[in-house]
Symmetry: C2
Subunit: 363 residues, 2 copies
Amino acid sequence: MASGALPPLRSRVAPLPPDLVLPPVVHTRDSAIDAAVSEQLLLTGQPAHAYGRLGDLSQQMARIRAGTAWSAEPPQLLVFAADHGLADEGLSDEPQTTTGQRVMDLLAGRTPVNRLARQHGVALTVVDAGLGHALPPLPPPDAMQATLQLRKIAYGTRNARLGPAMSVPQAVAALHAGMDLVRQLPGDVLMLGDTAVANEGSAALLLSRLCGVPLSDAFAPGMLQMMETEPALWQKRLDVLLAVGTRHRHAVGPVAALAALGGYEIAMMAGAMLQAASQRRLVLLDSVAAGAAALIARGLVPAVGDYLVFAQRSAETGHRLMLIHLQAQPLLDLDMRVEQGLGCLLAWPTVLAARRLLESGVQ
Amino acid sequence: MASGALPPLRSRVAPLPPDLVLPPVVHTRDSAIDAAVSEQLLLTGQPAHAYGRLGDLSQQMARIRAGTAWSAEPPQLLVFAADHGLADEGLSDEPQTTTGQRVMDLLAGRTPVNRLARQHGVALTVVDAGLGHALPPLPPPDAMQATLQLRKIAYGTRNARLGPAMSVPQAVAALHAGMDLVRQLPGDVLMLGDTAVANEGSAALLLSRLCGVPLSDAFAPGMLQMMETEPALWQKRLDVLLAVGTRHRHAVGPVAALAALGGYEIAMMAGAMLQAASQRRLVLLDSVAAGAAALIARGLVPAVGDYLVFAQRSAETGHRLMLIHLQAQPLLDLDMRVEQGLGCLLAWPTVLAARRLLESGVQ
């Protein structure tokens, strides 16, 4: 009190695992590009600010490409599938086998995601990041409507109430697998989707841990859900998450939190974002799990945020809070809770329009 | 005080002009259709509510068509151009000649609207609803990138500060012209756009009058505008609108308010909505002026609301309030202030996706 000097803040930055290899990512800010974009927008006969977020998106895309043309390769949608040990605690209305079923639906082309991807010329890859069960027999190769990549790190995460969801080496392996997948894909637009029963709980734990948001807000039900699910059940689920958070209270760095609280789909999405950003690709994401992956990726390499475009906002309080922490303004306001990248596909025409805005007036 | 009985509410419903012909519009609610939609959505492997507003839109579209197939005709975008006498009061940063310039840009195919319309296969028609000046020589017919419809009711509205913007017969003529235009167009999807310098003031006056919103809220600047425009100038503009509102305080019914405070583009959009709804067409709209037209159309025939889909929300307080009064949840959250139907074109792929959602699983 008397001295007036505050003690130095204790750094909460945990040392990174020595075998984690992070690709270099550079910030995209460039005032020369911004000036060129404003000039180009003026050619459309409207002041640049009249385009609102569409104009902001044009600017972000111009910054990402920094003068190089967009490739003619199709955009790539990666849907990461994994199971969560936390589902054993009754965190979801859906049985855990739903994850595998969704993968089969995607492979057989039975979902709106397949239809929209085909329509927009988007290449679809489904990744087994850590499904809890073996997949049933696949459709014959000529009937497969998506590429399947087998990158299983384990048969689902462990139940985080009983111990860390994964070991740190497993978390690092999943991050590296995400990077490797993107390295092997062509194109300069990456869309990220996921399908994983109960991963909203994992995403809420990561939001709470990495941004200091109370768990009761990070896992608050949306208006609609509150009407669907009885409050007692919701409280029971929140109590599970509170117990998990307390158990792993020392897991504070991005990799430590990921290992203790995360899922394999979240880890691989974080790795995929890092690799895509290092290659100056635009990354489109939509779900709360992808948002959690963005928090981890940004925690590891802050510049990655410059490459992210957020497709949609759902009705959940946690998703809204997460987007604020990510300083993200999503394009669509659809309250969807479908994952699998459907929001990315719905937002894609708007992204294309922003890109083409800079070509207007030239014709 | 002693009797306890309140005096009966004085009806504010003004009699309609006897020569106004309103087409019949029926409500679309149908629980059999709703049940069929829910079942169809379940076939996609997700619960219906997971689709949020996309699912709501599917339902609305199924209700509108009521079992009949969507036509193969292209969607029709009508852009209504008109000038406002109120612009003389310095309500806009842009000179009034901008309206005519925008029309020329649309006809010559120089705008992002032309580009997007072409890309989505949308037929574009520009309507001279009441331009204040004669158009310069048009491009040669083979270079015209949009159809031009000459439906001028007058050379701009009168300055509403000095008298009614239009006479009641002029308002009726504009409503009928809007209906007639739609009657002559094919297809079952109508998009409405507008270009009219200073029509935000007219829209704010109509919102205030028809919904009881204080003018200072209906014409409040958005966050962004507040930074661009000095508060004193904003207050000066608001004072103009307050004077106009006071002068026409007895114009309370939808047609009387339209005549006193409106614009020709607003009147024609209202007529177009009524006709489209009576033919069970879906109507997509995006601007604050189109919202004002929706208030008038709904005031005349309440069922018209069942056919409206709102494309986007801008940053202005007035637009947000208007959407709440219209019970509308727009699809895009882009803060755009470009008019001319650009928001409709950007939202169109999402509308198409909602329509196709009901075709999933069938393949």
